[in-house]
Amino acid sequence: MKPLLVGLALIILYSMFIVYQQDNNVFIRQLENLKYVADEAAASGALFFDEAEYSEGRKVYNRTEGNKAIAYMIKNLLRLDNTFTPMADSYWIDTINYDVYYFDDSKIMSKYSNGVLVQEEPFEYGFMFEETKANYIKYIDSPTIIVTINAGKPKFRLSFINPTDVIRSSGYEYLGR
C-alpha cells in the first residue's frame, strides 16, 4: 500500500511540474514575442515625420500617423480587437495598455497612453530616460520613439501561481543626425 500511495503522490507532483514547465515555456516564448512586437511598433511609428522640418535638417515625428501605425501593429501582432481586448486566438487575456514616448528635434517629449496624449514637456538631448514600468533605461541623444506594452498577466494553469503583469519596452532611435 505504501508504494502505491507514494507513487500516486509522485505522479500528482510530476504532473503539476510538467504543467508548470509547459506553461512557463509558452510564457518565455510569448515574452520574447512581446519584445518583437514592441520593436516592430516603434519601428513602424518612426516611419512618419514632418517633411518640411526634415528638409531643414530636423527630424520631427508625425505623432498622429505614428500613433496609428503603432496601434495597428500592436493590435495585429497581439491579435486584439479595436478595444485592445485579446481575441480568442490571442495568448493574452487582459486588455492591453501601451505607452509611446516621442523624443525628436522639436525638443518636446510627448507621451501617449493608449493613443491619448497625457504628457508633454521640453527636454534636451543627452539625458538618461527611464521607463519605470518596464525598468527600461535609454540614453536619449537623437530622435527616438519608445514603446512600452503592458500585456497583463500571462496564462498559468496552476492556480497557486500568481504572476505579475508582463511589460516590455523597445526604443527605435534615428541615428542619421
Partner: protein, 139 residues
C-alpha cells in the same frame, strides 16, 4: 511480493515523466529557434519589401535543420506583392507585409503508444503569424 509488483508498475509510469520533460524542453528550444529565424527573415523582408526566394530558402534551410524535417513539410505563406514604405505623412495598410510560417511538431507526448494514442493524433502544426511595415522606398 505484492509491494514489489506495485512498485514496478509505479516506477514504469514515473519513468515517463523525465522523458516528457526532455521532449518538452527539446520542442521549446526548437520553437524558440524558429521564432528567431522567422524574426530574422522578417527583418530582411522589411528592407526589400517582400519575402523573396532567397529569404524563404534561408528560412526553410534553417527550419529544416532545426526540426529535422523535409522542405515540403514547411508551410510559408506571405503577401504576394512587393510592398513599399508608406509616405511620410500617411499610414496605410498597403505597406504591410504579412507572413505565416508553420512547421510540424511530430511528437507531443512521449510513449504515446503506451497510452494508446496513435502517432497521427500525437502531432500538430505550429504556426507563427505576423506582419511588418515595409521600409522599401517606392521607386
Amino acid at each position: 511480493m505484492k509491494d514489489l509488483i506495485v512498485l514496478c508498475a509505479v516506477v514504469i509510469i514515473l519513468l515517463i515523466f523525465p522523458l516528457q520533460y526532455a521532449l518538452e524542453q527539446q520542442t521549446h528550444y526548437n520553437i524558440s529557434m524558429m521564432q528567431k529565424y522567422v524574426h530574422t527573415a522578417k527583418e530582411q523582408a522589411k528592407q526589400i519589401g517582400e519575402f523573396n526566394n532567397d529569404i524563404k530558402k534561408e528560412l526553410i534551410d534553417n527550419l529544416k535543420e532545426q526540426f529535422k524535417i523535409e522542405d515540403s513539410e514547411i508551410i510559408i505563406n506571405t503577401s504576394t506583392t512587393k510592398k513599399y514604405r508608406p509616405s511620410y505623412d500617411s499610414f496605410t495598410t498597403e505597406s504591410i507585409i504579412t507572413y505565416e510560417v508553420g512547421v510540424p511538431i511530430k511528437k507531443i507526448i512521449v510513449a504515446n503508444k503506451f497510452w494508446g494514442i496513435p502517432d497521427s493524433d500525437n502531432q500538430y502544426i505550429y504556426y507563427i503569424k505576423g506582419s511588418t511595415t515595409s521600409e522599401l522606398i517606392s521607386p
